[in-house]
Symmetry: C2
Subunit: 409 residues, 2 copies
């Protein structure tokens, strides 16, 4: 076995854009896998880091590999991506993914539902008979944009690419609750617990993925078995994921094994101490706001420094979303935020939890321009200029941080 056999498969774009020349030059009539891999590895510089096995099916060329459990989508790969293909979607796992054996019989996976009149475990097979809904939503790591904090918080320095817009299909949580007799009393929280295998020798509470959300979040939540029309992959929480539209990624519980309604917030470390908006200089604690709803946010995807284009007519393009609310409008600035013009919302509206594409046509002279975008949600909240400083580097929706400086020839 040669070294190439141990490397992940080159991504599609790498094959098409990179290896084609080499192969044609070599006069090869047909592509063999080894030849393609070899050509790709020769043609593309710098070499693309191999992806870990559980995500080896992803498009390495569209991704930035921070670590085996933190993988970012390149801003330049986003295009006018209404829906982010699974192959390009970021990955952020708080614990290593469970063994792929849990996908052998997806329908047999069970989730226990507690805090309802008739609490019990339900299999995926049963859930599929109860109801079905589809929602398009932005999935975003709460640390997306951490890479723009000058304080350099610990954690992955994501720029814009710990986010995607994906489509989930599953059963509405409210329908499951109804079928189990309704909620007991008036719980304040909906708590989801992940089914990851916990490392031995540690207090489970210190590592488990368990998050509590205001019970109102139940309204549009799903227990989902499909993402983008396919059974959910291991990397993204299959066979069953709790999906809570409008909330930051950490609340979207993968491999969900327990869904409990009650009056007490989880005391797992990831809830009690992790993911808190801690003022600079403080230590995280339970009195500080937790990372819950996403704020209104947008960023430009074209032009970019790595793909500036030329002076003249330019189509400035980007993506905008509002967390719990839809997007009302987006403004674009070509002078670093001194003046703003209204952009056009483009393409289908997939609902308030999805992102919207925007475009603004203008004419720009040669030289360097600072391009910024600013989104306004349907309740009138405006994407702020400045980030809210916090120790963990969470919830960055500053338009100034997301501006790009582009030099047109």
């Amino acid at each position: 076995m040669n070294k190439l056999d141990q490397q992940p498969v080159p991504g599609r774009r790498q094959l098409l854009a990179g290896s084609a020349t080499a192969l044609v030059a070599a006069g090869l009539g047909s592509f063999t896998q080894a030849a393609r891999a070899q050509a790709a590895s020769q043609a593309v510089a710098p070499a693309v880091k191999p992806l870990p096995a559980y995500v080896s099916w992803k498009d390495a060329n569209a991704l930035i590999l921070h670590s085996s459990s933190t993988i970012e989508t390149k801003r330049s790969a986003m295009g006018m991506g209404l829906i982010t293909p699974a192959e390009q979607l970021y990955v952020r796992n708080n614990l290593p993914a469970p063994a792929p054996t849990i996908l052998e019989n997806r329908d047999a996976w069970t989730v226990s539902v507690e805090g309802v009149k008739s609490p019990r475990a339900l299999s995926v097979a049963e859930l599929k008979t109860l109801g079905v809904e589809t929602v398009a939503m932005v999935l975003q790591c709460s640390g997306n944009g951490r890479g723009f904090f000058p304080s350099k918080p610990s954690g992955t320095p994501w720029k814009v690419g710990a986010a995607g817009c994906v489509v989930w299909t599953g059963v509405p949580v409210r329908e499951v609750v109804e079928l189990l007799g309704g909620l007991v009393s008036s719980p304040e929280f909906m708590t989801g617990t992940g089914g990851e295998t916990l490392p031995e020798g540690l207090d489970p509470k210190s590592v488990m993925v368990e998050r509590s959300l205001p019970v109102a979040a139940m309204a549009d939540a799903l227990l989902a078995w499909e993402m983008n029309g396919q059974p959910i992959s291991l990397a993204h929480g299959g066979p069953l994921r709790l999906v809570v539209p409008g909330y930051q990624g950490v609340n979207q519980i993968k491999y969900i094994k327990r869904l409990a309604f009650g009056s007490v917030e989880s005391d797992a470390k990831i809830m009690a101490h992790g993911y808190r908006i801690s003022p600079p200089g403080s230590k995280a604690d339970v009195s500080q706001p937790s990372v819950l709803e996403m704020g209104v946010k947008s960023w430009i995807t074209n032009p970019l420094p790595e793909r500036p284009g030329v002076a003249g007519r330019v189509q400035i393009q980007g993506l905008a979303f509002g967390g719990l609310r839809g997007i009302k409008r987006v403004e674009v600035s070509v002078d670093g935020g001194k003046s703003w013009s209204r952009a056009r919302l483009v393409g289908p509206d997939l609902g308030k939890y999805a992102w919207r594409q925007f475009a603004f046509a203008t004419t720009l002279p040669a030289g360097t321009h600072t391009l910024a975008s600013r989104a306004i949600d349907t309740a009138g909240f405006i994407q702020p200029e400045q980030r809210l400083e916090n120790v963990g580097g969470y919830n960055n929706n500053s338009w100034a941080d997301h501006a790009v400086s582009v030099t047109l020839a």
Copy 2:
């Protein structure tokens, strides 16, 4: 080089669902590519046919390989797929795809626009500065459903899977026409010509891909460079494709090199004799209706004979679309069409050219049931019970043909 090196990469689902057991059983701690491929090829029966090189990046497990240029999506792979991932989308090429070298510099590809006041060639780079729009639409081969014709027309016997719903981004044709000074006179037709390399020694008109459409089709047509947010792959017509929402696939010209407005329909064979609705026993000729707009159509994707489920509560699910018009409602029958119930439209509405998901919850006893669906578009057109018989096996939207017989345990 062993034999596995020459085979395409196993699809994601194959890896996750098929090889995991074998690997875990073998006690392997990490996945190497060769091991994965080997495990997958051992674990999956029957063996999946290798895909041709130009589509080797597709998900072989989701596809039926009719020939190297005709590849169908399995009905069972469709799920509640709002948007069909590129990896699962059917392929139908009238000519072999051009050399992948045409994707080396996508922005340099040019299309000549004729029949406008200032006719000229425009590069993709220029087109990208002119305007940008995104449309979600059903892409369907006009022969989709041919496999249900008892007359066994020549051509690929597609069942339901020569169709998908995809998102295109490009510049509206009407904006290009405007920028070139508008149309000359009042042309009847918009004619697109594909940029395939034609086989030598044949009359070009006998093989070229060139189709004329009523000029009204221009209204929502795009010259598109992205599909599903990514640069269009070679298999699907990259770097530039003419996209005409609501029309059958043959009219969506790949590698478009010429877009002409005029009063004469193309005399290429594919237009003059091919893709005509020829009555049984007749020969195709130019007096017969051409394959243009798609008819209103739907089919069930769950349950299916290969995934029947059990007696009791069942969620009957499927997909419906209306060609040039949106879907008003969908009805489902569990008794082979004797009685009908209104299904619920599910998930986001991506616009009139996209398909809608539908679901109908019911209770079914053990035994065999004939499940059918029937879509009604916003103008009131009803999906017919019977296909219109024709020599080529085109435009089959019969609900009876698309019914499934499912045996519940």
